[in-house]
Amino acid sequence: QNYPLYIRSVPIENELKFHYMVHTSLDVVDEKISAMAKALVDQRELYLGLLYPTEDYKVYGYVTNSKVKFVMVVDSSNTALRDNEIRMFRKLHNSYTDVMCNPFYNPGDRIQSR
């Protein structure tokens, strides 16, 4: 629970900041999950939406049925990502599942795509 499974930031410089940000955003994830738990269970939406707007970044969340949380931080100025996050997350979810299914993958290792 809330252990980072995998963190990767593309610009390396501010990694620490992102770690803090993602960690803090878990508050909202928890909040949303518990709010959702009260709603119908079977109709649970995996996508949590915008969690945590900051001045420069937008944090989106997604939680799988097994409570694996995906948190994505994108630059606010990146306006191309507006409504497509859900699809992004679905893809991410599928890819992540694929990676995890790989018996040769060691959890925590860097995920690489060829």
Binding site: P4, E15, L16, H19, H23, D27, E31, S77, P107, G108
Partner: protein, 1281 residues
């Protein structure tokens, strides 16, 4: 209506500008139709004052009665809504008519009304008609189609002028002239000032008409306005299009909706504007710049924040109207409107959310548009705005509501805190020294940009403006405000469960405190945050926070904590090499510095310095004898980035004397501790990321449990050796940073290793110790000392221990084979476990010889010496010296805790078992030799136990060792008779697994007199007797004189193992003694079956005669003298009982099958018995058995009772066996059969005694009679048995 006379000719067009509230209940109004309208109320020649006075009241009264359902026209997809429409009545002026392109909807004339009181046709024709026409033309010119003509009728007037046209005519005229096909455009209002039902009716009709027309016009015009607006919006790509103009147009619509109290719709208008603007900004960022947008890109000069306290900020609105607004102005205005509407809608929390988004997006937009902003200006703006929004919300909600909705506002609090912090850093308000001149200049600039405080907040003590100004004014004030905000934010985050956010703010606060040089305040926050990160395993935040904490602890002078944090940091892979080295050096520096001053030591957990990987014992069993050397090798994985010289690594050991001494014997341990002596330690307390991977992999092992006796597999399975690691509860927060009170264990037993340099990575350290006291040693703590700094593993887990044992010397003698066989040489293994005793040269074992057991001394006896670990140490020749009484074995010299093994051959002299199952002493003089002979019915061998007492050099006591030998043979004998000739048969049965060679079997009588001879009928050559097989020997017994009633015989046979080869010593023969009794034949019994007379053969089913002849062969002998013998006149007779028994059911005995006869005791005395038998089967049938018993009379004494029992037991003849088959015989013997219990004590009964087998010869034994099947026997039964 007042002053009817004033209804003059010159119709005076009047504009009544009145705000009239038109309430429409249940009126379905196309949603979105405007709220406020202005009606042009042209009135034809009437005193307007009276009208205006009277009308509203009436209108109100009338409206209460009516309701309109308005068809939804031009609804833009909006649902019909109830609206509240207010109208103004103004006097008609041509100038007021809308010009083309007028965008003012609020002042739009929706309906034009012409009032006239004219009732005179003349007047009408003269003035009113013209006036009306003019009016109509004006309207037409302005393309206004919404008009109404009201004709006011007055009865009073009619009375005055009698010759007037009927009143209808005027109305009709007007209708005719103007209301071309729209006759309803003309309404009659009769006697408006009277209180009659007619008046009421006409008022109602008028008001309904007015309302309908008004709404219709309103709907139409609103729709048109919206259409126009959309058209204008579509033109936005055209050059010269201005957002501000469009803004004003759409805002007009919003105003209308707001006036209609359709706040939702009003909000939509603003939201549309908002979105449009945002889209433009985004497009601008994408390179698609609109020219009007460049205007908004002017540098920001004022940052006075949002103003939400006024419903409409006219100042800003004018700026927009004048196209002078900056981006912040526009945004501020837009948001203030949205805020107002949202508050009308009772959605204050949405304001908070939107505010945060707005602030973020404003910052983004300014960045995107590359607007030049002085540093800090935006921070000021955001800070002010946040507080303004928060105060606005607080202003319209009560405390409880605010508290319940912290989740919505907390973001703003956080944002404000953040901004204030950055302002503080920017303006040097955080540093210890306070702002420098540059900072002061900046502050002045920032304050200038705020402008003057708004009048509406000027009186508020806590206005955002005042707060910011104060905060920027001095370091102290800043601190106060910043702390207030931070604490508020932390508190709110905590109260809604956003602990992580709270910790994050706390960390900022800690940073602030560090800057303010108050580390003691910072520490709490850092510890809190770190704990949180540790609990959730976030590596980078952990590292970062720890670094801050280290600095904090350093300032605080918490040496121990600082060193611990340093060691953790030095081993942290997320830090750079240099940083790690720095922290490592910190530890080393401290260690060096403190070396001189003794005293207090600093104890830190080891895991942050190095990790204990595994531990290895040599010997691997972790068991040593006293004085033995044990070495412990540990693998210590140093986490430090540089080699560290450690003065000493020590393992403290706890000593306990274990009660279970058995555990300490070498044998037990070699058996049980089969492991390789390596103990792996789990990676300790993961302070590092990815705890999943830190969970140890399950260590699975196969387990085979064998039964101790026969080593067969009992259980098998898989066990997990580290279940305790895998299944333990995940501790939520290992309190690592606080130095856990690690007590240094100063045990007496310490394993040490000094002067070690630990290289980064794995290091192997070896500890050696010489075992002293026997007992169990448990490794407790591992401690690496570095000057005064000790890195300690407080408890080694899993527990590790080694054992020291001391063992008494031991001698064990055991047969090499499963059992020892008597009579042939057998190997016996001697094992001397030296224990703590050192065997010197000249030490020997003294064996006192047992007489019947020889110790055979080979020349080539070798002894092997093994070390404790079963390694062969040496192999020496063994000297064995034998004298009469004592055999002395010289032991080779062997050190302590070694094992000497050698083998000796021993020979147990065979002895003959005694006849008759009695144990006896046969040629035994030595008391030590006991001969146990168990001749049970089974195939167990008779055993003989020999005890040897051995004197060992290490003990004054003798060790007595018992060796059990088994006799390989069992011998039985039997007496065979053929008439008067007698034979003795001896059967030798081999019970052992070995084959033997038998030779020289001989049988000798008690004395070799001539009157008794034993003639062997055996081969002379040696005979082989195989395992589990028998060999028979037969002798004929011949005598010349009357033989004695019993004969003692001695059988002996030489034997040797068949595969034995050459034996060193001659072996003693096997002997067997027995006694033959009553071997002299007294009676001859002959049975004969004769076919029925006239027949050649017996037939089945037909009776045949059986003739039994019993013949006495001798005169009175010694053996005859018993109770059955009766004497009369020197004539002796004895009573015999015969019995015919057919065991195989071949014959049916008819009539008596048994009887008692009196037999004269004289040679050749014969007794014949006839009886009838019937063959049941055809074929050659053996004759039925004839048995002969001695018939003893009853006697009163009980003494013979035992005999009676004994004969039944001893001869094995079951008398009662045929009782059921042969009722006759059963009856005859009923008395003879002794009942169990004491029954026959009172009832004396005759007894039967079987004649010894030697005394009776059955002459017809083996004889057979041919029985042919009877002719009429169709069924042939064949029984196969």
């Amino acid at each position: 209506m007042v002053g009817p006379a004033s209804c003059d000719r010159r119709p005076e067009k009047t504009q009544v500008h009145t705000h009239t509230s038109v309430r429409r209940r249940g009126c379905h109004w196309p949603e979105g139709q405007p709220a406020e309208d202005r009606c042009h109320l042209p009135e034809g020649g009437r005193d307007r004052r009276g009208l205006t006075r009277g009308f509203p009241e009436e209108a109100r009264a009338a409206n209460a009665l009516t309701s309109d359902f308005w068809p939804p026209e031009m609804s833009y997809g909006r649902a019909p809504k109830m609206i509240h429409l207010e109208s103004n009545f103004v006097q008609f002026k041509e100038e007021l008519l809308p010009k083309d392109g007028n965008k003012a909807l609020l002042t739009f004339p929706f309906l034009h009304i012409y009032w006239t009181e004219c009732c005179d046709t003349e007047v009408y024709k003269a003035t009113v008609k013209d006036d009306l026409t003019k009016w109509q033309n004006v309207l037409k010119a302005h393309s206004s189609v919404d008009w109404l003509i009201v004709v006011v009728e007055n009865d009073a007037k009619k009375k005055n002028k009698t010759n007037i046209l009927p009143r209808a005519s005027i109305v009709d005229k007007i209708r005719n002239d103007f209301c071309n096909k729209q006759s309803d455009r003309c309404v009659v209002l009769s006697d408006p000032l009277k209180d009659s039902s007619r008046t009421q009716e006409s008022w109602n009709a008028f008001l309904t008409k007015l309302r309908t027309s008004l709404l219709m016009s309103f709907t139409k015009n609103l729709g048109k306005f919206e259409d126009d607006m959309r058209t204008l919006r579509e033109k936005r790509t055209e050059p010269g299009w201005s957002f501000c103009d469009y803004f004003m147009v759409q805002e007009e619509l919003a105003f209308v909706f707001e006036m209609l109290q359709q706040f939702e719709d009003a909000l939509v208008q603003y939201d549309e504007l908002d979105a449009l603007f945002s889209q433009y900004v985004v497009n601008f960022g994408a390179g698609d710049g609109a020219t009007w947008l460049t205007f908004f890109c002017q540098p920001v000069k004022s940052w006075n924040g949002l103003i939400l306290r006024k419903p409409i900020d006219m100042e800003k609105r004018e700026l927009i109207q004048r196209q002078e607004a900056t981006l912040l102005d526009l945004r501020s205005y837009l948001f203030s409107r949205q805020c107002t509407l949202l508050l009308f809608l009772q959605r204050p929390w949405e304001v908070a959310q939107r505010a945060l988004a707005l602030l973020h997006s404003c910052v983004q937009e300014l960045k995107l548009l590359e607007v030049s902003v002085p540093p800090g200006a935006l921070d000021c703006w955001v800070f002010l705005s946040c507080l303004e929004v928060l105060q606005r919300i607080e202003g319209c909600c009560d405390r409880a509501q605010v508290d319940a909705n912290i989740a919505h506002t907390v973001g703003l609090w956080g944002y404000a805190t953040e901004k204030l912090k950055s302002l503080g850093y920017l303006c040097g308000l955080v540093s210890e020294k306070g702002p420098n001149s540059e900072d002061l200049n900046r502050i002045v600039d920032l304050l200038a940009g705020l402008g003057a405080e708004r009048p509406e907040t000027a009186n508020t003590a806590q206005s955002p403006y005042k707060k910011l100004k104060e905060a920027l004014s001095s370091v102290e004030a800043f601190e106060k405000h910043y702390l207030d905000l931070s604490h508020a934010a932390i508190e709110m985050h905590t109260s809604i469960g956003r602990l992580r956010s709270a910790k994050f703010v706390g960390k900022d606060l800690a940073e602030f405190y560090m800057r303010k040089k108050s580390p003691q305040k910072a520490e709490v926050y850092l510890q809190g945050a770190l704990k949180n990160y540790l609990a959730e395993g976030w590596a980078l935040p952990i590292t970062h926070t720890r670094k801050q904490l280290a600095e904090c602890q350093k300032h605080l002078g918490q040496t121990e904590n600082y060193l611990q944090t340093s060691s953790l940091l030095a081993s942290d892979h997320h830090l750079t090499e240099d940083e790690r080295k720095h922290f490592c050096q910190e530890i080393l520096r401290f260690a060096d510095r403190q070396t001189d001053s003794p005293g207090q030591r600093i104890i830190l957990p080891l895991h942050c310095f190095a990790q204990l990987r595994d531990l290895h014992f040599t010997p691997s069993t972790a068991v040593v004898h006293v004085g033995g050397v044990l070495s412990v090798e540990i693998t210590l994985c140093s986490q430090m980035p540089i080699p560290v010289h450690v003065e000493q690594v020590a393992i403290s050991v706890h000593f306990s004397i274990e009660k279970n001494n058995y555990r300490k014997t070498a044998e037990w341990l070699t058996k049980h501790k089969a492991s390789n002596g390596v103990i792996n330690f789990p990676a300790e307390s993961p302070p590092c990321p990815t705890p999943q991977s830190q969970l140890p992999a399950p260590e699975l092992y196969e387990v085979f449990e064998r039964s101790p006796s026969d080593n067969s597999l009992n259980t098998t399975g898989i066990i997990c050796k580290n279940v305790h690691m895998l299944l333990r509860r995940q501790e939520s927060s290992p309190a690592l940073e606080t130095s856990s009170g690690v007590a240094l264990d100063d045990g007496a037993h310490v394993l040490k290793c000094s002067g070690v340099t630990l290289e980064p990575g794995a290091n192997r350290l070896t500890f050696r110790t010489q075992a002293r006291e026997p007992g169990t040693y448990t490794l407790r703590q591992l401690c690496a000392s570095l000057g005064p700094v000790c890195f300690v593993v407080p408890h080694l887990y899993p527990p590790v221990q080694y054992d020291v044992y001391s063992q008494e010397p031991q001698l064990r003698v055991e047969p090499l084979a499963d059992s020892l066989l008597a009579g042939i040489p057998q190997k016996v293994k001697f094992t001397v476990t030296t224990g703590h005793y050192t065997v010197k040269n000249g030490d020997s074992l003294q064996l006192s010889n047992a007489e019947a057991m020889l110790i055979l001394c080979d020349a080539e006896n070798r002894a092997v010496i093994y070390s404790n670990a079963r390694e062969k140490a040496s192999d020496v020749l063994l000297r064995v010296q034998s004298s009469d009484k004592v055999t002395s074995i010289s032991l080779p010299a062997a050190p302590a805790y070694h094992v000497i093994e050698f083998e000796l051959e021993v020979l147990s002299l065979p002895s003959a078992p005694v006849t008759g199952g009695e144990s006896g002493v046969l040629g035994m003089t030595e008391s030590q030799r006991k001969h146990k002979d168990s001749r049970s019915a089974g195939h167990c061998m008779a055993t003989a136990e020999h005890k040897v007492s051995i004197d060992c050099p290490w003990s004054i006591y003798s060790t007595v060792i018992a060796l059990t030998f088994s006799v390989p043979f069992r011998t039985t004998h039997s007496l065979l008779s053929a008439g008067t000739r007698k034979y003795v048969q001896v059967c030798v049965q081999n019970l052992s697994e070995l084959d033997f060679e038998l030779s020289e079997g001989s049988l000798v009588g008690p004395d070799s007199s001539a009157d008794l001879q034993l003639v062997p009928l055996n081969t002379e050559s040696p005979q082989r007797i195989y395992s589990k097989q028998s060999v028979f020997f037969v002798w004929e017994l011949k005598w010349t004189r009357e033989p004695p009633p019993s004969l003692r015989c001695h059988f002996s046979v030489g034997f040797s193992p068949a595969s034995g080869g050459q034996l060193s010593i001659p072996l003693k023969p096997y002997t067997y003694e027995f006694q033959v009794e009553n071997f002299f034949t007294l009676y001859n019994v002959r049975a004969e079956i004769l076919p029925p007379s006239g027949m050649e053969h017996c037939r089945t089913g037909s009776l045949c005669s059986l003739e039994v002849t019993i013949t006495r062969l001798s005169d009175l002998l010694e053996v005859d003298k018993d109770e059955a013998l009766t004497e009369s006149d020197e004539y002796f007779s004895t009573k015999l009982m015969y019995e015919v028994v057919d065991n195989s059911s071949n014959w049916a005995v008819c009539g008596k099958s048994s009887g008692v006869i009196s037999m004269p005791v004289a040679a050749r005395a014969t007794h014949r018995v006839h009886m009838e038998v019937m063959p049941l089967f055809a074929g050659y049938l053996p004759l039925p058995d004839v048995r002969l018993f001695k018939y003893l009379p009853h006697h009163s004494a009980h003494s013979s009772q035992l005999d009676a029992d004994s004969w039944i037991e001893s001869d094995g003849l079951s008398v009662d066996k045929h009782v059921d088959d042969q009722p006759d015989g059963g009856r005859s013997r009923a008395g003879a059969h002794p009942a169990p219990g004491g029954e026959h004590r009172g009832l004396p009964m005759p007894r039967l005694q079987a004649l010894p087998p030697g005394q009776v010869v059955n002459a017809s034994v083996g004889a057979q009679v041919l029985v042919v099947p009877s002719r009429d026997d169709h069924v042939l039964e064949v029984s196969v048995t």
